[in-house]
Amino acid sequence: MKIGFPRAIFYFDTFPFWAGYFEALGIELQVSLPTNRAILEKGLKKASDDTCLPIKILSGHLASFSPDIEAVFLPRMVSIEEKTYLCPKILGLPESVLAAVPDGLRVLTVTVNWREGKAQVQKSLEKLGAELNKSKSEVRVAFARAQEYQREYEEMRRAGRTFVESMEHFESLSSSAAKTQPTAQLEIARDDSVRGSEEGSTRLPHSERRPTIALIGHPYLTYESYGNLNLLAKLKAKAKLVFMENVEQVQIEDNLKDLRKPLFWSQGKRLLGAGHSYAANTYVDGVIYLSCFGCGTDSMTQDMLARRARANHKPYMVLTLDEHSGEAGLITRVEAFLDMIERKGNGFAPHVRVKDAKSQ
């Protein structure tokens, strides 16, 4: 059995979990191609005009599935940790994007809600398993594997492995076919996304001293190299990048302690906690918050982080994406931001850091 897995939204942070689950059940996943123009255009036609870019991209991926797969997988991710929710647009899945699913294609879904504890998640996964004719004991094994893969992924990222490297590892585990039937197009797309998102730096002169930039943003924007106009490659050409995923959970919690009340969006918590920690980090020369139009949770957290960055005299910029984003505007902002850092006291010399450290 082969199930389609859209390379959108939840792919970018929980794919390893699902890779583990389905692999243990002996079900092959077919991840859709990296986003391209055709996929985005389909998404724009199929999705509601009011929603955000990532949901539009998800709709495009759904609409692009070929009928030769048996089902498409669209979990309802309600909560991934205690006392938090995911954003309302993600809670609205899968119903809000069903219109994009090609006629006749079966949609497999499952509700994941860690607010109600592990036992409830287990029950949901059993229900999904039953639909796939799997026994409770098989599901128990699959659930354990899913968690193990997810932990492994998070450790890989903290250890500095890139997103693309890490995901390739899990994709190859979940799909035996991926290696045997790559079309020419897939090859190009892969290559593009690798260079596009993470490996841009390898082509560059290494003589210049490069600033360190913390890129804070939802994974489905940060690693969506088509949607973000290849931002990572553009930044990597001129800077060393650090991400939210490089920050330990403990550190994230630590950096949120002084909030007047806890945030209840888990993504927002991670973004802000990591952002706070980078804003206070003297080895980070600047913080960029990557957001998109129509993001409700970002509207709060990007401003909260702006205040922290200003208090710490850390250069800070918000980049906002949507389907109309022109490359010119993005390039101008990125260049100006890097220039600002570079010209700020002759770059990132140690004496600047010492001064910063004292002033805090």
Binding site: A38, R195, A328, D339, M340
Partner: protein, 341 residues
């Protein structure tokens, strides 16, 4: 400038070129950091032609003895302009404007810049940019909108500001969106409000919109410089002064500050490299035949629109492809094209 590798004499100049959506500006900077020539031309959708036109005018003014020893380009068509003229430095508008402003007025802390299609705010402390913002997709509150309204009211844009400052009771106009501003304005006209009051109201609406969008969250401190084409409008300047309660300085070369900044950046770059390193392709390029063409690449599903710039059938540059398949093959020769592809 430290090191003083460059010893420019009377007849040697740095050229700054700023190609924006509405205007194309060229500045010739003299050895003593004074502006020799400043040109403000309308781009009229033909950036390449306008740049060539500008070079032609400059050549007539300075004579064939003159030598260009460094070139900088900026503006939304900076890459195109750089390819055309052979630039030593290609910089974004924010850096260029900030550099020009801090040279023109060393103590500047805030720069308000309103151009044809975009507007920005730049916060400077101790001569260094510390924060900036640009308008997003909305073009309300830019020069194009003022142009459009002036022509709708049947007044030349040059008279817009002088009329606005005569207003006694500026009317209140919704400035959130240019479409609503226009319908609001028509309504006020139908009620019989005098023209100066409506124009002043429009200026106030535009300034409010600018401060709410672009100036949001920014610490605006004096001295404040107001530059870009719209700074020619005393109505807008007055509205800024009223809203911010501070003096607004309009620098002498307010309309060409981007080009001036680009010239200063070229000076910086050339002095760092040594004087004989300019990539400038010569004043005769005014006569050369440049062509731009585009095609869709069918290499993958992205179908990138690739642009190709040719001079006398020789390809100078290509851009627009995401993977670098087309641009990479040509990049070395052109060089220094920042933010390309």
């Amino acid at each position: 400038m430290k090191g003083s590798v460059v010893l420019p004499t009377q007849n040697r100049y740095f050229l700054g070129v700023d190609v924006g959506s509405v205007s194309t500006n060229l500045v010739l900077l003299r050895w003593d950091n004074q502006v020799e020539q400043a040109l403000y031309l309308r781009t009229q959708g033909r950036p390449m032609h306008t740049v060539q036109e500008g070079i032609k005018i400059l050549r007539e003014q300075i004579g064939s003895e003159a030598e260009i020893i460094g070139v900088g380009t900026t503006g939304s068509a900076r890459q195109l302009a750089a390819t055309l003229v052979g630039a030593d430095v290609v910089k974004n508008e924010i850096t260029a404007h900030a550099v020009a402003a801090s040279r023109a007025h060393p103590g500047v802390q805030t720069i308000l810049e309103i151009g044809g299609q975009d507007s920005k705010i730049i916060i400077v402390r101790d001569g260094v940019v510390v924060d900036f913002a640009m308008n997003t997709v909305c073009a309300a509150g830019t020069g194009s909108f003022l142009d459009q309204q002036a022509s709708r009211l049947g007044i030349p844009i040059e008279e817009f500001g002088p009329l606005a400052v005569q207003a006694e009771h500026p009317v209140r106009i919704a400035g959130r969106c240019s479409v609503f501003a226009e319908s609001d304005m028509i309504h006020k006209q139908q009620l019989g409000h005098p023209l100066p009051d409506i124009l002043a109201g429009l200026c106030q609406a535009m300034v409010r919109n600018y401060l709410n969008n672009v100036g949001k969250n920014k610490e605006i401190r004096g001295p404040i410089l107001f530059q870009g084409g719209v700074a020619a409008n005393p109505g807008i300047r007055q509205a800024f002064e009223q809203e911010l309660g501070q003096e607004i300085i309009v620098p002498e070369h307010f309309a060409v500050m981007g080009a001036l900044g680009a010239a200063f950046l070229a000076q910086e770059k050339v002095s760092a490299l040594g004087q004989d390193h300019t990539r400038f392709r010569g004043l005769q390029l005014a006569e050369s035949n440049f062509q731009a063409r585009s095609f869709d690449c069918n290499g993958c599903a992205n179908h990138c629109e690739v642009v190709e710039i040719l001079q006398e059938k020789e390809t100078l540059a290509r851009w627009g492809d995401r993977c670098g398949k087309w641009s990479a093959t040509i990049r070395e020769r052109v060089g220094n094209v920042e933010g390309g592809a």
